[in-house]
Structure formats: structure tokens, C-alpha cells
């Protein structure tokens, strides 16, 4: 299962034609205590780079951009009651939403783990 990263500090983990998206550990650390995650509607179609949600902490509000194009399959409803999961387990239980990829080749434009590590320094 390949994990790719964006310059907006999102990760996308691909399984078949479904990508699971969340924010990186670096992102959650920068944001501090996350208080709210606004997620897209299931069934919506998003294009790569579209605003797909908002993550809010006590000190900042940041847009979440769709790292890849496709249809929103599922969102992590558990975040509504437990937004802190995005702090404690950003790459696991703290995932945001799943997209059915419409163009898997878009993944080639994203960073792999080592490139992302270099990116965040």
C-alpha cells in the first residue's frame, strides 16, 4: 500500500482504487490541539487541489485540499466527537476521508515518504 504526501501536509494511502486521506504528523504538530474537522459530503466529486474540508485548532484554521481527484466514498465521522484523534493518531484512526480515484496517475506527482521528510526538513 503506497503512501504519498502533498506539500499541504496531507497523506494519501492507496489501496486499489481507493485513497485514504489525512494530515501528517508534522501538520498536526504545527496546528496544535485540533478542535474541529469539517469534512466533505459523501458522494461529492472533487478535483485535485479543490478545497475538501477545514481543520481547526485553537490557533489556526487550515483548508484541506483534495490531493487527488475522485468521488468522496466515506468520511471519518468519529472525528466529530473526537477531533483530538487527528492529533494522537494522524496517520491511523485520525484519517479524514476516502476518495475513489478517478485518475491514479495523479499520484505520480506527489511525494514519497523520503521526499516529504526532506520537504519538511
Amino acid at each position: 500500500m503506497a503512501v504519498k504526501y502533498t506539500e499541504d501536509h496531507e497523506w494519501v494511502s492507496v489501496d486499489g482504487d481507493v485513497g485514504t486521506i489525512g494530515i501528517t504528523d508534522h501538520a498536526q504538530e504545527q496546528l496544535g490541539d485540533i478542535v474541529f474537522v469539517e469534512l466533505p459530503d459523501v458522494g461529492n466529486t472533487v478535483a485535485k487541489g479543490d478545497e475538501a474540508g477545514v481543520v481547526e485548532s485553537v490557533k489556526a484554521a487550515s483548508e484541506i485540499y483534495a490531493p487527488i481527484s475522485g468521488e468522496i466514498m466515506e468520511v471519518n465521522a468519529a472525528l466529530a466527537d473526537a477531533p483530538a484523534t487527528a492529533n494522537t493518531d494522524p496517520t491511523g484512526e485520525g484519517w479524514f476521508f476516502k476518495i475513489k480515484l478517478s485518475d491514479p496517475s495523479e499520484l505520480d506527482g506527489l511525494m514519497d515518504e523520503s521526499a516529504y521528510k526532506t520537504f519538511v526538513g
Binding site: 490541539d33 474541529f36 469539517e38 481547526e56 485553537v58 489556526a60 484554521a61 483530538a84
Partner: protein
């Protein structure tokens, strides 16, 4: 031997106020100058200010006047206003400010000199008043959540429009505005809609609804008075994916089914008639209420309930991350200032009267109106509608002008409409008002009737299917304070919880918390200024027009601009108005493609938010490591966008508190590429009398009268943000339908023609009493105080950003980041610990995260500045104990700050510092100690559990157990 005789005139010191406004005495001034190594104030300001921009002559203002003479002149101006009975309505009504509220809130520095409650622990009093306000609004409108006020009804409607566009499923480009909405609201909506590509469609909602509208605005009751059943309209609009916005009258909602019960998505309006004087248009608190689902998109400030370190309920501003200072050009609103003082008054009016009192007032107004209407019918008139609350519009094509004039002669102001007149009754109306009105309408009719006879025959006065059935304001706070004694003590109890300027200095950088002198404040509540309707005939408002004209000229003289508009109600609204002026200028020259706005990265977040609202594209210009505009980057970006360059927004002195040497060159670069220069006047207090923005090349500025020109902050509003413009931009100043019939180049940005006219006498009095010499000296003293403070603190904390000569402007930034790296002590820890020392923290993390920005202003004496520096230095020593390992941070007084008396009197005390060290860390504090009412408030808890109405009393009991 000759004796020097001193004349009576010489003994009368007309400039005495200058020495009252300026804090340091002559000896203190000399001592501070000596500490800085400068021989004189002039020598200091010569060195601090780049010589290229210094004025070589004094401001052209009258000589300073004494306080008594100034009051006498104001009384003479006031006498030129004529207080009539204004029954014009349109969102402005006569009201009685309960005397206990007038004296103990409106005229009380404990309330009016406080700052926005960002430091929640020392703001619990006004935060409670504001959550009362939110609860009152939520209850009356039938909505889930309300904010802590907006600037006025029209801009609240505009905020609802932009939020509606974001929320609506219908992606059409039209915002439908009912023709029954107040005309000034429609005008402001037009101004706000056009730059962001929204089309305003004004029409009759009962004649059909457009399918491609994302939102609808309805007025309830309508501007002509009718009470309409909007249930079906709301349903149809929503079925079409549109958002329903309702502008509603809160007093009417005590009797009418609230919009929240018939489907409104957003409800807005004014709370003026809840005890806030009309003041020729403002300031008044508008409200904004919506459904819980939209709470994270509400514009403005919202008070929420959280808990403190001991688990006690505590109030704080919540959901602030959406504010423009974080989202910048992505923000959908630039709203910053609220109308806290006025919201507090409105909320206290509700506390004072309670739900039954408000209902009684509303019922009385409604019955009077019903009696008036029946009499008019018997006189043969046709009314617009038979369902009304407090306003009737009388159709009289042949008599409208005659009746209107007869009423004017009788001292009754009516609303003049095409072939009709409107009459709005209010709390101050009486049986005599109604009888006098009948006499004005009596055009030889032989109908005979009396008030009592009509009243006896009165049936239901409101449509029964629109009568309110639900309870409101059931919370105990609206029931506990009926006697004046209880009310007085409630107000005192709340005020005592807060730190305002009447207690200690508030050294907030960029906020200029200077003296709001008592003489400056005096005229605000005089009836000749307070009780004037914004649309009163001009023969009644000559005093106001004179005051406004004089103040415009004074402000123009102080800034060098050719003309000034006093309309904008806040700094951010001034920014927006100024950018619209620039936009209109480019359009008039056939260059409407110019839409790029350059903004330095160090700018306040309102700048990019305002630019986005004005339809401009923001291009960020970098800053060098000193916080100055990177001139090479500016040149490159101006060149790259030369074709489309509209404006540069620059703050001067910079947000980092430095006089940038190259400002003249910066302005020139922008002009060379066809752009205009907007100077943010937030830091004007460092300039007045020494240099003028217009002279160094700026084309437009806003001036925060609530900073530089002494209007008090009111605990978070009112603000007044007039704009000054250079000669070539004068034709593009904002207009107002009541003044020019809508013929101006840009429409109004606020409900009232002169914005918050009711408080302009404050700035007028300040300038009159200071004169040119006083204003210049104030600026020099602000620079002296800031530099003295920077010098004292620099031995203990790193001071960021100084000019080439090592001087700061009127504020300084101390850098806590290196300290945090070593000790872990954060800006928050220092800010909260300052509360234990009795001080309000400086501005936190603006313009640089992890720093404190301190602005003492000219009004603080050396004694007070030293007291503050002593506190900061003592805190530095506490930090050092953490650095050296003598004190563990998590157990330190820094981390546990602030300390309540309750914490300190606990049976057990197991902390590694003494109770005395916690509460009285410096000698001499025992006699006059400020006790924080709560300990540190949990921000994360508050933002995760958003509660924005009064918590039940049990919450306090639970915490106590």
C-alpha cells in the same frame, strides 16, 4: 526692585489639558530623556523619525482650549441640534436608557475603557454581559446561537449575504432582497455585493421567487410596518436550496412568532431600541444569529463557556480561528471590532426589564399603534397594512406632504415616502403623541372620537397565527435584578472582575490604549446629541453637521489629506471603504482591470481580508529580517503586476513598530506603476504632528479614532474608522442615499450617513483641547515612553526590530522565543502571570508569533511604566529560576497563573512557591490588589465544546462542590 506681575489671562492656562492628557510630568520627561541620552523631545523624535518625512511646520489647528471652554463650545454646538420626537423608524427608535445603566455602564470608565476580551481571565465581567446578550438574541430570534454583536444592521445583513453564499446549496449568483427591507440596508448590500460578483435583486417576494437566488433577505416587520407571514416563502426558498435571512426587530419578537420558528437560517438586526440612544445613527450593536450547524462560520466575535484550571465555568472568546487575522485573504469577512459597550447596554436593558418587562413595553407600543391606526382610519386614511407592530404607513397621495410638514411643525418627525407617510411609535411614545399625530392628520374631517373610546373598542392587535407562543429569556439572570439596588450591584460585581484603564495601564501594542478623558466623554449622553434620529430633517441637526464638518477638517489637518469621510464604523470598515475609493478611481479612469493589491507579509490580517472583499487579488510582498518591506521584492512585484496594479496597503510606522526609512520610495514605486497607496492608520499615534501620510506619498488612510483620537475601546467596540483621501480621490468618497439620493461614486458602507456620529464629540474635544502643539507633544511623548520602556526591558528581554538608530517608534516588541527555547515558558505564561501583578498583557504573538508587543502611549506616567517594567523584570527572574532548574516549570507560579483568591485560600498548599509569592510578588501590592476571578481558562475544551448561551446555575454549583 521691579515685581513681575502676572495677568489674569496669563494665569488661565488654556493648554492645561495637554498636561492632563500626557502622563509623565516635566521631571519624569527629563528623567526619561536622560535615561535615553537625548537632550530634548525634539532631538528624540528627530532621531527616531526619518528626516525625509518630517513635517517642517505645525499642523493648522486652533490653539488649545481649556476643558471648561471646550464644554461650553460643545454646549453651544449641541444647542444647534433640535430634539424633536422622531417617529421615522427605519431601525432607529426612541428608547429610555435606564438611569442605572446609563450612569453605571455608558458613563462608567470601568466599562468603556476596557479592551476586547482577548485576555479572558481578566474580562469575565463583560464576557458575562456578552453571553447574556447572546442568550437574549438567541431566545428572542428563536435561533440556536448568536454572536457578540456586529457593527450595524446593514453590515450584519451583508455578512449574512456572504455567509449565505457559502452555505447555500443553490449556486445561483443572485441575492434576493425584499423591497420591504430598510432602504439603507439595501444600499449597503449593493455596495458590498458588486465587488464580489453577487447580483442584488430587489423585488416583491409575494410576486414570485427567482430560482437562481442563493439567498433571500426579508424584513420582519417590514420597513413600512407590515407584519407578514413568511412561512411559505421560507419553505419555498429553502426547497430551492437557498438560504433565508431575516432582519428582525427584537422588541417585536417578544410578541411575534420568531423567525427561528418559521424556518430562518440567519437572523440579523439592531438592538438599538434596547436602551441605546439613537445618537444620529450610532454606535449601536447589531446582532447575528443562526443555526447550530453554521456556528463555525459565524462572522465576528463569539463568547463561549469553557472551564478554568480548577474546573470552574469560565467565559472566553471562542472559535476565533476563523477570524481574518488568521485566514487573511481567504477570510469571507474582515469584521474585527464588535460593538461591545452597546451590546452590554442592550443586554443590561434586557436584564433590567426581564421578559415580562420587554413584553409589557412591546404590548404598550403595539396598542398605542393600534389606537393611532384606528383613529387614522376614522379620519378617512388608508393604511398600507392592517397587521403591524409599531409602524403604520399611511397612504395619502394628496396630503402626504402637508401632513409631514404639519407634524414637523408640531415637533413630530415622520417618515416621508412617495405619496405616503410612515409613523413608528416606540417606548417613549405616549397617549399625547398619538393625539398630537391625529391633529396633524386631521384635514377637516368631521369624525369625532377619543383615545379612550378607541382603546375600549380595541380587539386583537396582532394576527393570531403570528403571535409568539414560546417562552424566552427564562434564564435566572433575566429575573434576578429587578430592584435598582440589585441591578447596581450586579453591574458593579461584573465591572470589578475586569481590568480596564481605570485600574492599570493596558500596554497593548497596536491598540493605543490612551486616556479617554472625562471631558471628552461628557457630551455623548447629552440629549441634544443622544436623541437625534439619523434621518431627522437637517434643520434639527445643524449642531451635528457643524461638529462633523469641523472634525473632518481637524482630521484632514492632522493627516494632510484633502477630505475625510466619517462613515466607516471600524478600522477594518475604513480599509474596505478606502479600497473601494481606489477601485472607483481606477474605474473612472477606464482602468477597471486594475485589481492587484500588494500587501506586505507583516500586515494585519484585516488588510488582505478587506482587499478580497473589495474584489482585489492579494499579492504578498516580503519583509526583511527587520520587519521592513523588502523594497526589492516590492519593486519586482510592482513591475510584474504593473498592468493590473491597483494598490499597495502599507502600515506606517510598520506593524513591527519601526519607522521605515524608505517609505517615500515605496510610495513612488507604486505610483510609477499606476497604483495607489493605502496607508493603514493603526499606528497613526506615532505620526500626528511629526509627519503626514499624505505628504510622504499616501493616497488614502483610515484613522482609528478609537486609538489615536481617544474614543474609548468600550471593551471591544465601538470603533470609528474614518478615511482621509488625497485631492484626486475626493469625488470617490462613500455616499449615502439620505444625503445624495444614491448619486455618489460608491455607495454607503454603513447604515448611517456619518457612521457612529454619537461619539464624534469625543475626538472633536480631544483635538480642540490639545491643539497642534498638544497633538505633536502627545506623539513625541508616545515615542519617548515606548523607547524608555524598550530601553529598560532590553536589559532583560531581547527587543526585536529597531530603526537604524536603535530606536523604536511608539511601541516595541520583546522576543520570548529564545527564552521559551531554553525554559519552555510561553508568551501565554507571561501574559497570565502579569495578571497576578495586576496588569493586562501586551499584544500577544502579533505581528510575530511568540512575542509581546508593548505600547505604553503618551498617557502613562513614568511611575506606571516603571511599575509595569518592574513586573516584567520580576517575571524574568521567575523565568530564570526555571532556566536554572531551581523551579520546575509545571509547578511554577508562571504555569499556574493567574491565581484566584480561592486557589490561595485552599486548605492545602503544596506548591514550591509561597502563597505570598503567588499573589503579592512585588512589594506594595497588598493595599490594592486585583484578584483574577478565575484561573487559567482551557482554550481547547472551549473550542471543542462550543456553548454560547448562559450556562445553567447548576454548572456553578457543580464546580463549587
Amino acid at each position: 526692585m521691579t515685581e513681575t506681575t502676572v495677568t489674569v489671562d496669563q494665569l488661565h492656562d488654556q493648554g492645561a489639558f495637554i498636561g492632563r492628557h500626557i502622563g509623565p510630568s516635566a521631571d519624569e520627561t527629563a528623567a526619561m530623556l536622560k535615561a535615553l541620552g537625548h537632550p530634548s523631545l525634539d532631538a528624540l523624535s528627530d532621531e527616531a523619525l526619518p528626516s525625509a518625512i518630517q513635517l517642517d511646520q505645525a499642523l493648522t489647528l486652533d490653539a488649545p482650549k481649556g476643558e471648561a471652554e471646550t464644554l461650553a463650545e460643545l454646549a453651544e454646538i449641541a444647542a444647534q441640534n433640535k430634539v424633536a420626537t422622531s417617529l421615522i423608524g427605519m431601525g432607529y427608535y426612541g428608547t429610555v436608557t435606564p438611569a442605572v445603566i446609563k450612569r453605571n455602564v455608558l458613563e462608567n470608565p470601568a466599562w468603556y475603557t476596557a479592551y476586547t476580551p482577548y485576555q479572558a481571565e481578566i474580562s469575565q465581567g463583560r464576557l458575562e454581559a456578552l453571553i447574556n446578550f447572546q442568550t437574549m438574541v438567541s431566545d428572542l430570534t428563536g435561533m440556536d446561537i448568536a454572536n457578540a454583536s456586529l457593527l450595524d444592521e446593514a453590515t450584519a445583513a451583508a455578512e449574512a449575504m456572504t455567509l449565505g453564499r457559502k452555505l447555500a446549496k443553490n449556486k445561483g449568483g443572485i441575492f434576493f432582497v425584499s423591497e420591504r427591507v430598510h432602504p439603507q440596508t439595501i444600499d449597503v448590500l449593493r455596495t458590498r455585493a458588486e465587488p464580489i460578483g453577487i447580483e442584488i435583486l430587489v423585488g416583491d417576494e409575494f410576486a414570485g421567487l427567482p430560482s437562481d437566488a442563493f439567498g433571500f433577505l426579508l424584513q420582519y416587520p417590514s420597513t413600512r410596518g407590515s407584519v407578514n407571514d413568511y412561512r411559505e416563502i421560507a419553505e419555498r426558498a429553502q426547497a430551492n436550496g437557498a438560504v433565508v435571512v431575516v432582519a428582525a426587530d427584537l422588541l417585536a419578537l417578544t410578541l411575534l412568532t420568531p423567525p427561528g420558528e418559521w424556518g430562518a437560517d440567519i437572523v440579523v438586526g439592531t438592538t438599538q431600541r434596547f436602551g441605546v440612544p439613537m445618537g444620529f445613527g450610532g454606535p449601536h450593536a447589531a446582532y447575528f444569529a443562526t443555526r447550530d450547524a453554521h456556528k463555525r462560520n459565524i462572522p465576528g466575535r463569539i463568547v463561549g463557556v469553557s472551564v478554568d484550571a480548577a474546573g470552574r465555568p469560565a467565559y472566553r472568546l471562542t472559535l476565533q480561528t476563523r477570524e481574518q487575522h488568521i485566514r487573511r485573504e481567504k477570510a469571507t469577512s474582515n469584521i474585527c471590532t464588535a460593538q461591545v459597550l452597546l451590546a452590554v447596554i442592550a443586554s443590561m436593558y434586557a436584564v433590567y426589564h426581564g421578559p415580562e418587562g420587554l413584553t409589557r413595553i412591546a404590548t404598550r407600543v403595539n396598542r398605542l399603534t393600534a389606537i393611532l391606526a384606528e383613529g387614522l382610519r376614522r379620519l378617512g386614511y388608508k393604511l398600507d397594512s392592517d397587521a403591524f407592530f409599531d409602524t403604520v404607513t399611511v397612504n395619502a397621495p394628496d396630503y402626504a406632504a402637508t401632513v409631514w410638514e404639519a407634524a414637523r411643525v408640531e415637533g413630530l418627525n415622520l417618515r416621508y415616502l412617495e405619496g405616503a407617510v410612515g409613523v413608528s411609535l416606540d417606548e417613549t411614545s405616549t397617549r399625547q403623541t398619538v393625539e398630537r399625530l391625529w391633529s396633524c392628520f386631521w384635514q377637516g374631517s368631521d369624525a369625532e372620537f377619543t383615545f379612550d373610546e378607541i382603546e375600549a373598542s380595541l380587539g386583537e392587535t396582532l394576527p393570531s397565527d403570528l403571535r409568539r407562543r414560546s417562552d424566552f429569556m427564562t434564564h435566572p439572570v433575566f429575573h434576578l435584578y429587578r430592584s435598582e439596588t440589585e441591578m447596581l450591584r450586579y453591574l458593579r460585581r461584573l465591572a470589578d472582575k475586569d481590568i480596564a484603564l481605570d485600574r492599570s495601564m493596558i500596554p497593548l501594542g497596536s491598540c493605543t490604549m490612551k486616556l479617554n478623558a472625562t471631558t471628552e466623554m461628557a457630551a455623548v449622553t447629552w440629549p441634544e446629541f443622544a436623541d437625534i434620529h439619523p434621518f431627522a430633517p437637517s434643520d434639527q441637526t445643524q449642531g451635528y453637521l457643524r461638529l462633523i464638518g469641523e472634525l473632518e477638517r481637524m482630521l484632514a489637518a492632522a493627516t494632510g489629506y484633502a477630505a475625510v469621510s466619517l462613515q466607516p464604523n471600524s478600522g477594518a470598515q475604513g480599509e474596505y471603504a478606502g479600497l473601494l475609493v481606489i477601485r472607483a478611481y481606477h474605474q473612472a479612469r477606464g482602468e477597471s482591470h486594475r485589481d492587484v493589491c500588494l500587501i506586505p507579509s507583516s500586515a494585519h490580517g484585516t488588510n488582505p481580508a478587506s482587499a478580497a472583499m473589495a474584489g482585489m487579488k492579494v499579492v504578498v510582498v516580503g519583509c526583511d529580517d527587520k520587519g521592513n518591506v523588502d523594497v526589492d521584492d516590492l519593486r519586482a512585484k510592482a513591475e510584474a503586476h504593473s498592468e493590473n496594479l491597483a494598490a499597495l496597503m502599507i502600515t506606517y510606522p510598520s506593524t513591527h513598530g519601526v519607522f521605515e526609512v524608505q517609505v517615500r520610495e515605496i510610495c513612488q514605486i507604486v505610483h510609477d506603476h499606476g497604483g495607489q497607496v493605502y496607508t493603514d492608520g493603526a499606528n497613526l499615534n506615532a505620526l500626528v504632528g511629526l509627519c503626514s501620510p499624505c505628504e510622504f506619498g499616501s493616497d488614502v488612510s483610515h484613522m482609528n479614532l478609537h486609538k489615536t483620537f481617544c474614543i474609548p475601546h468600550g471593551g471591544g467596540g465601538p470603533g470609528v474608522g474614518p478615511i482621509g483621501v488625497a485631492e484626486h480621490l475626493v469625488p470617490f468618497l462613500p455616499g449615502h442615499g439620505e444625503l445624495d439620493g444614491g448619486e455618489s461614486a460608491i455607495g454607503p458602507v454603513a447604515s448611517a450617513p456619518y457612521g457612529s456620529a454619537g461619539i464624534l464629540a469625543i475626538s472633536w474635544a480631544y483635538i480642540r483641547m490639545m491643539g497642534a502643539e498638544g497633538l505633536k507633544k502627545a506623539t513625541q511623548m508616545a515615542i519617548l515612553n515606548a523607547n524608555y520602556m524598550a530601553k529598560r526591558l532590553s536589559a532583560h528581554y531581547p527587543v526585536l526590530y529597531t530603526g537604524p538608530d536603535g530606536l523604536v517608534a511608539h511601541e516595541c516588541i520583546i522576543d520570548l522565543r529564545p527564552i521559551k527555547d531554553v525554559s519552555g515558558v510561553s508568551v501565554d505564561d507571561v501574559a497570565k502571570r502579569l495578571m497576578d501583578y495586576g496588569f493586562h498583557a501586551p499584544t500577544m504573538s502579533f505581528p510575530v508569533a511568540g512575542t509581546l508587543m508593548i505600547e505604553p502611549t503618551e498617557s502613562e506616567s513614568q511611575v506606571e511604566i516603571d511599575r509595569f517594567c518592574d513586573a516584567m523584570i520580576a517575571i524574568r527572574e521567575e523565568i530564570r529560576a526555571v532556566e536554572t532548574g531551581d523551579m520546575e516549570l509545571d509547578s511554577s507560579a508562571l504555569r499556574h497563573a493567574p491565581h484566584t483568591s480561592d486557589d490561595l485560600l485552599a486548605d492545602t498548599w503544596d506548591r514550591p512557591y509561597s502563597r505570598r509569592q503567588a499573589a503579592f510578588p512585588l512589594p506594595g501590592m497588598e493595599a490594592s490588589k486585583y484578584w483574577p476571578p478565575v484561573s487559567r481558562i482551557d482554550n481547547v475544551y472551549g473550542d471543542r465544546n462550543v456553548i454560547c448561551t448562559c450556562p445553567p446555575i447548576e454548572a456553578y454549583q457543580d464546580a463549587a462542590e
